[in-house]
């Protein structure tokens, strides 16, 4: 963001979405009903992370006890399962081809497992150790192909890796504390990503040069989750300070805060609906709050989980979203 506000900017209002400007231009949201349509039971411990497959129905999820499961969440069948040699698998990701998954956690690594249906083959045998950090792995994501992975770590850095060789392609230094989350930009020229950390900063990086392009520091506590707005011009963040915020990259500042006095627990995971009109946020108070991104108001609160919501992602075609919780289950909402 702006390193320090020059005098002429002091008069600008904090929120971009001045209520009177938006209210008349944007239709009100009607009655909002979303229910749990599937409950995935099978993890024996806290679910920490999940990711969707591009086929819009399969997902991968990881948990505290080291288990990583691939489900067809439409039928709720488990299709693959592997147990990692470490606990607290905080990161997992589905490869774009749908043929592999990546995961990691307290082992400080990110490993890639090709998915196989061959009963004679042990999934763990083909495991590839790709990323090596000096502290826990908090997030990982494939880029546009199965052959590159971007990771975030408690060691304060992010890194880009070549999957096949395990070679470090680029590292990203700048966070002053643990990096907890990342998201790749959907931009057409696909060259940037955003990360959030315990230093309360959200930083936007150039993947090619490793340089930080923009940085935003308005949260009061750890940033647990960052997600780009579908146009790529902005991103949302969820933090332990119980707020979610929207940062505009072109205006180079925070443009909206999503908070309510009655919400006092941290937001652990955020994602947008397909049009970016709704922001779904999972919280440490076991609930999911649905926010109207443009009006800044809360549209709905979803109950159901019996412990913290730790992960939340909207499906690739926007028909549903999946939430994972410390209550050992995942839920699909639509």
């Amino acid at each position: 963001g702006i390193p320090w506000p020059p005098a002429e900017m002091a008069w600008q209002e904090v929120s971009l979405f001045a209520v009177h400007q938006v209210a008349e231009r944007v239709e009100a949201l009607g009655q909002f009903v979303m229910k749990t349509r599937r409950t995935l039971k099978g993890h024996g411990n806290k679910v920490l992370c999940m990711d969707w497959c591009k086929d819009k129905r399969r997902i991968v999820s990881s948990s505290q006890d080291g288990k990583v499961i691939v489900w067809d969440s439409f039928t709720t069948n488990k299709e693959h399962a592997v147990t990692m040699p470490c606990t607290w698998v905080m990161a997992c990701a589905y490869a774009p081809s749908g043929c592999a998954i990546a995961c990691g956690g307290l082992d400080n690594k990110c490993s890639v497992y090709p998915l196989t249906f061959d009963k004679n083959e042990n999934m763990a045998a083909k495991k590839k150790s790709v990323a090596m950090h000096t502290n826990y792995l908090s997030a990982c994501s494939f880029t546009n192909s199965d052959m590159q992975i971007l990771t975030a770590s408690g060691d304060g850095t992010c890194a880009l890796w070549d999957v096949e060789s395990g070679q470090l392609l680029q590292s990203f230094h700048g966070h002053g504390a643990d990096v907890l989350c990342l998201d790749l930009a959907p931009s057409e020229t696909g060259n940037t990503f955003v990360s959030g950390g315990c230093d309360k900063k959200a930083m936007v990086w150039d993947m090619r040069s490793g340089q930080c392009i923009q940085s935003f520091e308005t949260h009061d506590s750890d940033i647990n989750s960052v997600r780009y707005y579908p146009s790529g011009d902005a991103f949302a963040s969820g933090s332990d300070d119980a707020t979610c915020r929207l940062y505009d990259l072109r205006a180079d500042r925070e443009v909206a805060i999503y908070s309510k006095e009655s919400i006092i627990f941290g937001a652990s995971s955020v994602d947008f609906s397909l049009s970016g009109r709704l922001l779904f946020a999972g919280y440490n108070d076991y609930t999911i709050n649905v926010w109207d991104v443009l009006k800044g108001s809360r549209v709905s609160i979803l109950f159901g989980h019996e412990n913290r919501v730790s992960t939340l992602r909207v499906s690739p075609d926007g028909t549903a979203f999946c939430s994972g919780s410390w209550d050992h289950t995942l839920r699909i909402w639509a």
């Binding site: 067809d72 749908g98 763990a124 180079d252 006095e261 970016g276």
Partner: protein, 473 residues
Amino acid sequence: MTIGGPRGGGQSRLQMPCLGKMERMIVSMQDPDMGIKMRNQRLLITVIPHAMTGNDIVEWLIQKYGISEEESLHLGNLIVRHGYIYPLRDPRSLVLRADESPYRFQTPYFWTSTKWPATELDYAIYLAKKNIRKQGDLIEHEKDNYNLLHKRINHTWDFVVMQAREQLRAAKQRRKGDRIVIDCQEQAYWLVNRPPPGAPNVLEQGPERRNCHTTRVQLAKNMDYYKREIEYCRKAMARTRVKSSICLEGYLKFNEQYVPHDPIMSGCLPSNPWITDDTTYWAMNAPTVTTPTKLRVERWGFNFSELLMDPLGRAQLLEFLKKEFSAENLSFWEACEELRYGEQSRINEIVDSIYQQFLAPGATRWVNIDSKTMERTLEGIKTPHRYVMDDAQMHIYMLMKKDSYPRFLKSELYRNLLAEAVIPPETKKRVFPFMRKQRHSSPSPALLLPAGDTEAKGEEKSRSPAAVPEEES
């Protein structure tokens, strides 16, 4: 359940900013004017002062925060579970009931944020007191913990018992009402800090953050670091920032365009598979279909990226470019993508292939790049790396976007696609809504071979793969 309790000690407190907020809530709940009206509550024959009912709590939260009863009960329950309010009746269950059940505010002495972490010694004294009072008749898990502690801190056990006896003696001096209250307060505190097996542990945190300074990658504050910082600040100051009003327009336009395409906002036809168990929507919007839906074809008109990123759209674009004799642009762009996101080991190979096909003089699929970019690129490929084609790729991308794409949208090809695109009819409501439709599985992408073999293999393996037994790593 370990005796040691939650890990992290003082560090963990930083991970719970919610405690401070909860405490402010508690304080405003006790505000003499705006807070909950407290009264005496009768507990059998004893009268407990400064108490309230579960209903009072729920009502107050509803009024104060403008939330629903469900949300209020949920929030109230969290407050009770964190030990800031405790029940007088049935004190072993930290649950908020929206009825006449009596509750009280926990004394700040026992607030989670004040007395954290709970020490083994304190817990031992507490259990010892209980043990003495109940003459050995402790609840199972407390008995286990007692025995474990007895073993573990055996060397201080005399002190523990002495303290326990002293505290019990002091308690006897108090009025019965006070004694009950102090017992409840203490019990609530221990329910939070040493939850019985099966009860949720609200103090549990994830892995410690900000803990490993030795494994932190230190930012060496040398010349390079400061050079980068200066560069960053210079760029930041020079950056043109877009005016708020323009940004706002951007959001409004995007919202208007995309909301009709957002299944959660606008529904989807024929129906949302997750709601009706009918996968027709997915079948009709599969990556390759003969007749795409109207919404999909319309979306290709939003921006070039939408057309390019949809495999079907891209195929149509290719058809159009062939007609214009500029199909090599798309192929070149795709080859550059393969370079950017490909394996490190294949870089030289891919760069060479691109050069031969698209850049070399006399190449069969020569792409028309401006001379400056061409010169730079040819120079760059002498030391190939994954970004060596970036400039050329950008040039061709912009060419397609600014030049070919607008023509595509006006073309007969596209207009025909729009005209022939289908609007799926809405799924009729089933006659017997209680009979759930069978949920069929789909072939896993992990089974499908690369394009060409896809359909054959897909059909072969259309049965659901049996659940694979778990494999140890």
